[in-house]
């Protein structure tokens, strides 16, 4: 009872800090400190043969090498001529994936949310069915699409080849694999957008629609002038979360096409680490990934502030 008695006599602020200590200890060991370490590692030279993977301090040379395309990393197949620096390929894959997946997930999520917003018999079960993909393990999501687009087992590979969209083995082709990964992600995560949009829809005062109908507004006008502005803040927050999540893409790629075929930023960190043992370069890529996400979050937050100011 001694420590508890001691706590009783402390001020509210001290009590707060004591209770926060475990959380911040965990975050410091797993997040804050490793992030700083990643940055300091990225300023060292690679040592692929020596027992310790890091050499002397070389400043920002790793970043320069990455941005100019001189970094020695396992080459990927996205650009067969090897003309594009690998970092740019990874950046392109990651950004294109994030933008396209969030765009489609928002549109499909909107459709699902509108369906779930209706009152009908069996609504609970339709909602379960729509949420289930969101709750399944990444490896199983990957397995489903890996099997579907596998030339031996899957029907989708044959079908897409017969209509001339994909090649004979889509999971070894960079463009085809990118589309497969994109579809798999949309299948899984549209439900997340749907749930957040649904929460926004259900918080709208139904009386507003009655007023609009009496004033002669068409359904489209009701949507444009009531629904959209009122759910915009919730929608932007949901898109922010999804964008951050999409930019981390790793597991889905690793378990379907492989990190060499579709190099995302996170993939590049792992291939640099495991295939070439270039720890310092891997750290530089990892830190750049964090920076890119940080910049994107900032842009989002600025635009979020603007819309909130515009609405109120």
């Amino acid at each position: 009872m001694r420590p508890l008695n001691w706590l009783e006599t402390q001020s509210e602020a001290t009590f707060a800090y004591v209770l926060l200590a475990p959380a911040f200890l965990l975050l410091a060991v797993i997040a804050f400190y490793p992030l700083l370490r990643t940055f300091s590692f990225s300023l060292l030279a690679d040592q692929t043969a020596a027992p310790t993977p890091f050499g002397e301090f070389i400043g920002f040379d790793n970043y320069v090498a990455l941005l100019t395309g001189e970094a020695l990393l396992p080459q990927q197949f996205l650009d067969p001529s090897f003309a594009t620096p690998i970092l740019q390929q990874a950046l392109f894959v990651t950004l294109a994936f994030a933008i396209l997946s969030v765009l489609f997930e928002t549109l499909i999520g909107f459709g699902q949310a509108i369906v779930l917003d209706q009152d009908f018999y069996g609504r609970r079960w339709v909602r379960v069915a729509i949420i289930i993909p969101y709750a399944i393990p990444i490896v199983i999501q990957a397995m489903i699409f890996y099997l579907m687009f596998n030339p031996t087992v899957g029907f989708a590979a044959d079908f897409m080849q017969s209509i001339g969209v994909f090649g004979s083995n889509p999971l070894t082709n960079a463009t085809d694999s990118f589309i497969i990964v994109l579809v798999a992600d949309i299948w899984k995560t549209s439900a997340f957008m749907a749930l957040l949009i649904l929460a926004g829809l259900q918080s709208i005062d139904r009386g507003l629609y009655d007023v609009a109908r009496v004033s002669g507004a068409s359904p489209w006008q009701q949507f444009k002038y009531i629904t959209l502005p009122l759910i915009a803040p919730a929608l932007l927050v949901a898109m922010l979360f999804r964008t951050m999540d999409a930019m981390r893409i790793y597991g889905l790629i690793d378990a379907t096409a492989g990190c060499q075929t579709v190099p995302s930023m996170s993939c590049l960190v792992i291939t640099a680490l495991q295939n070439t043992r270039r720890w310092a370069t891997a750290s530089a890529v990892a830190f750049l990934t964090a920076v890119v996400i940080g910049v994107l979050v900032l842009l989002y937050l600025i635009s979020l502030r603007d819309t909130e100011a515009g609405v109120t």
Binding site: P22, W187, L273
Partner: protein, 321 residues
């Protein structure tokens, strides 16, 4: 597809239509114009069926692959299996100790959930109910950690977990945390902590101050008031945070795939088990599918049972910013 379905639907509903000489499509169009609500209703049903099919079909097809015997795998149809071999669901446990992988995953997820609930309860209480100067700064720093990708933390953590630490030598064989469940649940507890802090913060802040004050007057300690009054009264919130943490840890890929060598006795989680069916000589597609179905059942059941909790947790976590 949608137009045909709607036409069929209209044909079924065409009973009270007086003009019999109209074609089916025109009749449908006339009906929809005179009664737009019915048109919305029809579109709604088509959309519902579309979403149900697109979300559930992949699971159905996975079952079809699992039921197909190994030598007939090239003849799996879109809707039918290439044979009937339920033995695949037994084979996954005999070819590999897949139950051990599932057990590892469960253990990691349960331990991480317990750690997260305890630590996030303390932090959620502070952020939800106490007032002090640095509160907003600290809350922001919790939020910031959920922004960064796990890859940004991975290089130092990989080094840390592979290092031989003398103090750990009595506990681990070689004194390093690699190939132990610690290397997975410690990072995952930290990474999924912010979500639970936000959920619990919301729930704890809604308990009336009077209840806590009454308990304090009765002589409960501050911590006693938290664990005897606030936490039990916020049971739905704690359950929400617990269910979401369990599911996200069970589903995680990044650390789960990188912190062990993939052998079941090295505490490799379920995902390594599924990927191991990509054998050395032959890819056992039907076993991969069967293992996936077995591994997805726990979360599927959890979603059906705790649907409301998951929905409220996801929305609370995101709306809180």
């Amino acid at each position: 597809m949608s137009e045909k379905d709607q036409a069929d639907l209209a044909a079924m509903e065409k009973t009270d239509e007086p003009d019999l000489d109209r074609g089916m499509v025109e009749a449908w169009a006339a009906k929809m114009i005179s009664n737009p609500d019915r048109a919305y209703r029809a579109t709604f049903y088509v959309a519902t069926i579309f979403f149900l099919v697109t979300t559930l079909f992949p699971f159905y097809w996975l079952l079809m692959v699992a039921l197909t015997p190994r030598n007939r795998l090239s003849s799996v149809g879109v809707l039918t299996p290439g044979g009937f071999n339920p033995g695949a669901f037994v084979e996954i446990f005999t070819t590999l100790p897949f139950h051990r992988y599932i057990f590892n995953s469960f253990l990691i997820a349960v331990v991480a959930t317990v750690i997260v609930l305890f630590v996030a309860s303390l932090a959620g209480y502070v952020f939800g109910r106490l007032r002090f100067r640095a509160k907003n700064v600290l809350l922001l720093s919790v939020l910031v950690t959920s922004f960064f990708p796990p890859a940004a933390f991975f290089v130092p953590l990989n080094r840390l977990f592979n290092r031989n630490i003398d103090i750990l030598r009595p506990l681990m064989q070689d004194g390093s945390l690699y190939n132990t469940p610690y290397a997975i649940f410690i990072p995952l507890s930290a990474l999924y902590l912010p979500l639970s802090i936000f959920i619990l913060m919301t729930f704890y802040s809604q308990i009336p101050d009077g209840l806590e004050d009454a308990a304090r007057v009765e002589g409960t300690t501050r911590l006693g008031a938290l664990f005897r009054i606030i936490v039990p009264l916020s049971a739905p919130g704690v359950a929400t945070a617990g269910v979401l943490t369990f599911i996200t840890v069970y589903n995680e890929y990044f650390f789960s795939s990188l912190m062990t060598d993939g052998r079941p006795q090295s505490w490799a989680p379920m995902l390594e088990g599924i990927l191991r069916f990509q054998g050395e000589f032959e890819v056992l597609f039907n076993l991969m599918a069967a293992a996936s179905i077995v591994a997805v059942l726990p979360v599927a059941i959890l979603v059906i049972v705790a649907q409301e909790k998951i929905v409220s947790g996801l929305t609370a976590g995101a709306v809180k910013e």
